[in-house]
Structure formats: C-alpha cells, structure tokens
C-alpha cells in the first residue's frame, strides 16, 4: 500500500495579480515532497464551525523546496476561489495535499519536442512545464500556443515575453479570440488547425502534445492534432473546468 498523501499546513507568502480576475498565490508548505510540472495540489479551507471545502489547483511552477505557487482564477459564485483571492491574508493558513496526478506531467529528462496548447487559465500547468524546462536546463524544444480573449487576459505576460526572448528553444505564439494587440497579424479568431499547424510541430518529429483549457477548447484542439496526424497516444489533455 502506498503511503497516504497527508494534509499539511501552508501559509500565504505572496500574491501577484495576473489579470483583473486571477492571481498567483505563493505558499510556504513546510515538508512539501516536491512535484513534477503539470501536477496539482488539493487546497482545503476550514470554517469556524468545522465545515470544510477543498478544490484542486494546478501548480504554476516546478518543485522549489517548500515553496509552491498556484494561479487561481476567481470563479463568480465560487466557494473557494473568492476566498483565496479576496480574503486570504499573508501569513494565514490553509491545508494542502499533494502532489496529485501522474499523467499530465512533463519530466525534465524528456528530450523530445514538446507542444503546449493553452486555452485561458489552462496556461497554468503548461507554464509550470516552461519554467521547469528552464530550471532543469533542458534543451527539449518547446512551443507554446496560448489562446486568450484579449492581451489583458494573458497570465505571466511579462515573464513569457522575457522567456520567449531568452530561453533558447522556446517559442511562444498567441491566438486572440476577442481583441488582438496592435501589430498582431490577422483578426481575432478561435484557434484553428492552421494555427496549430503553423505554430506547432510536424507529427514526424514525434512531439509530446499537452493541451489544457476549457472542455470545448481541449476537444477542438485535440481533434485538430489528431487530424494533423499526431498519434492520439502522444496527446495529453486536461480540462480546466470552473473550480469554484
């Protein structure tokens, strides 16, 4: 029998706004066992009367000692995310348990080309892979296609701009669905096979493809990849439903 994953107390160290409705929360979690890029953590809140509510969040960065980072999108009418974003104070405790999930992960020892396709807040676990690649000094060729409504909705915008410039072997392309910045070629549109074909890898390079976003996005992109000739077994998906 595997040792159970135990709940441990973590405290908020720092919060960073990503967009008007999303924040990166940095936690100090003494004893955190480490994780792979793409894994999750369960976060549990306890009210004064003992009531508890828990949700899973993707980890936003690679293993970093006792520090873990999440990026949380505020879900209207949510139960946990509004607390984490609006109420939780630096130094206050929550409980965390993890890491969770052993499939939607990228291992830094992998050398194959990687295609990451993010829709909206689905960028979080893919950013953990981008950051993990850099942290490990990996030379695996990475391409990230990031679909967002508008430039203001991009998570990690400054860092992605910097990494696309400085991290050799990392390319970042954006698809805007509602409003594009000046200088972007084309009109806002939903991601299509042409975007995936232009900014992804050809199937004969046998890339590992990771797709994360809302269900409709993931279904559409996974179908496009299959249609472009990528074997289904090389396409890993994760859906980012509203995690209230």
């Amino acid at each position: 029998m595997t040792a159970p994953l135990t709940w441990r107390v973590a405290r908020l160290v720092e919060r960073r706004p990503e967009t008007p409705t999303a924040q990166t929360l940095v936690l100090d979690a003494p004893g955190w066992p480490g994780h792979l890029p793409g894994q999750h953590v369960d976060v549990r809140l306890t009210a004064a009367d003992g009531y508890q509510a828990a949700r899973s969040y993707s980890l936003a960065g690679p293993a970093d000692g006792d520090r873990i980072a999440l990026t949380v999108q505020r879900v209207p009418d949510g139960e946990v995310s509004p607390y984490l974003i609006d109420v939780w104070a630096v130094g206050d405790p929550v409980e965390v348990r993890g890491p969770v999930g052993g499939w939607f992960v990228w291992r830094p020892a992998e050398t194959m080309p990687v295609l990451l396709v993010a829709g909206g807040s689905g960028a979080v676990p893919l950013m953990a892979m981008v950051r993990g690649r850099r942290a490990a000094g990996s030379r695996a060729p990475f391409r990230l296609i990031y679909s967002v409504r508008t430039p203001a909705d991009v998570f990690y915008a400054d860092e992605l701009h910097r990494r696309a410039r400085d991290d050799r072997g990392l390319d970042v392309a954006y698809v805007y669905t509602r409003a594009a910045p000046d200088g972007w070629r084309g009109e806002p549109h939903r991601i299509g096979a042409a975007d995936v074909n232009t900014h992804g890898w050809p199937p004969d390079l046998d890339p590992l493809c990771y797709v994360c976003g809302p269900t409709g996005f993931v279904e559409a992109v996974a179908d496009m990849l299959v249609g472009l000739g990528h074997p289904p077994g090389r396409i890993r998906t994760e859906r980012f439903g509203p995690t209230g």
Binding site: A47, A53, E79, W88, D92, V94, D223, R239, G244
Partner: protein, 196 residues
C-alpha cells in the same frame, strides 16, 4: 482554521460524499483525444481468465433487456451530480452465462484507457454499459457510443468508450490507478489517491 472562511450555506448542501460539491452541469474529464467510435464497427467483449470470449455487436447489445438507472455520480475532481438518468444494459445480463472464477475485472476502452475493479462491483445490479444519457444518445465526449456506469465508485471507474472487460484472477491496476489514484475509489470513504 482558515480565518474569514465561511463557505456556502450548509442547509443548501444535500447529502454528498465527503469533500464533494454539487454541480448542475456535466464537466468532461479525460486524458487524451476523444476517440471516434462508430456503432457499426463497435463491439463489446468479455474475456475470461481462460481466454474464452463473449461478444456483442451494437445491434446485439442494444437488443438486450434495457434498464434506465437514475443515479448520483461523483468525480474524484470533487464535483457530484445528482439524479442523472441513463439507459443501457445491466452487467448482470452481460455476465449471465459467462463461466468464470475470476475475482477482478480490467475494463478497457477504445483509445486505450483501462480501469480495474473487483468483479463483485460489476454484479448485483450496481453497474451498467450505457448508451443513452438524459433521453438522448450518449455524446462522444461523455463516452459515446457506450460507456461503463459504476456509480457507487468515483467516475473514473465508469470507463468511457468501453470496449470490453477482461476477467482476471489477480488485480491489475488501470490507467489512473497506476498514476497515483486509489485502487478501489469509494467516494463515501473518500478513496481519492493511492493510500487513502
């Protein structure tokens, strides 16, 4: 304790397994692309521990006695959905006449997914192969043309795009069971992850 956390009004929550919350929509979770499976080439196969095979084509399967279970479903990602209505064939019907002494089942799907459970959990009117949801044909993203439905376990055990069941004398972990999730997955005992 989490200072300032109140949570939802307690009275609004019906009886749910521990750590679950109620959802009205039907989230989709899967590990890869949705496979395209056409009913005219679909088949369902029960393979026993001796290698004997019992096969049903789509026409044969849909001609079997049908049930319409109305059940609550619980996903390990913490959402629960109450009173879902399905149509399909009870596993007791499919296993009737299958000669086996196996104690375990490894369910396998089109697209390569697998999940394991004790054979006893497929018997006794607790499990179905369903092909309709809420009065309509089962959409592909929810496992169509047919999926397993084992509602007393977390929903990853209810394999989408189900293709067959291998009956085994020993337990062999499936896809999520080898990726850190619990071997059995009882939501009422909150068996989410290995070791819970």
């Amino acid at each position: 304790m989490s200072p300032g956390f109140q949570g939802r009004p307690r009275s609004a929550e019906p009886a749910l397994p521990p750590g679950q919350y109620l959802t009205e929509d039907f989230p989709v979770l899967s590990a890869g692309p949705t496979p395209t499976v056409r009913p005219d080439t679909w088949e369902f196969v029960v393979t026993t521990e001796t290698g004997a095979e019992y096969r049903w084509s789509w026409a044969e399967f849909t001609a079997l006695p049908q049930e319409t279970p109305r059940v609550d479903i619980h996903c390990v990602t913490r959402w629960s959905k109450l009173g879902t209505t399905w149509q399909g064939v009870c596993l007791d019907v499919l296993l009737d006449g299958v000669d086996t002494a196996a104690a375990y089942a490894l369910v396998h799907s089109y697209g390569g997914y697998t999940t394991n459970l004790p054979l006893a959990d497929l018997r006794g009117g607790k499990a179905w192969v369903v092909h309709r949801y809420d009065g309509r044909g089962l959409p592909a993203e929810h496992g169509g043309p047919a999926r397993l439905l084992v509602p007393h376990l977390y929903l990853w055990k209810s394999a989408k795009w189900v293709r067959g069941i291998r009956l085994r004398t020993s337990d062999e972990p499936g896809f999520w069971e080898t990726a850190g999730y619990h071997d059995y997955g009882d939501p009422w005992r909150e068996q989410r992850y290995a070791g819970d």
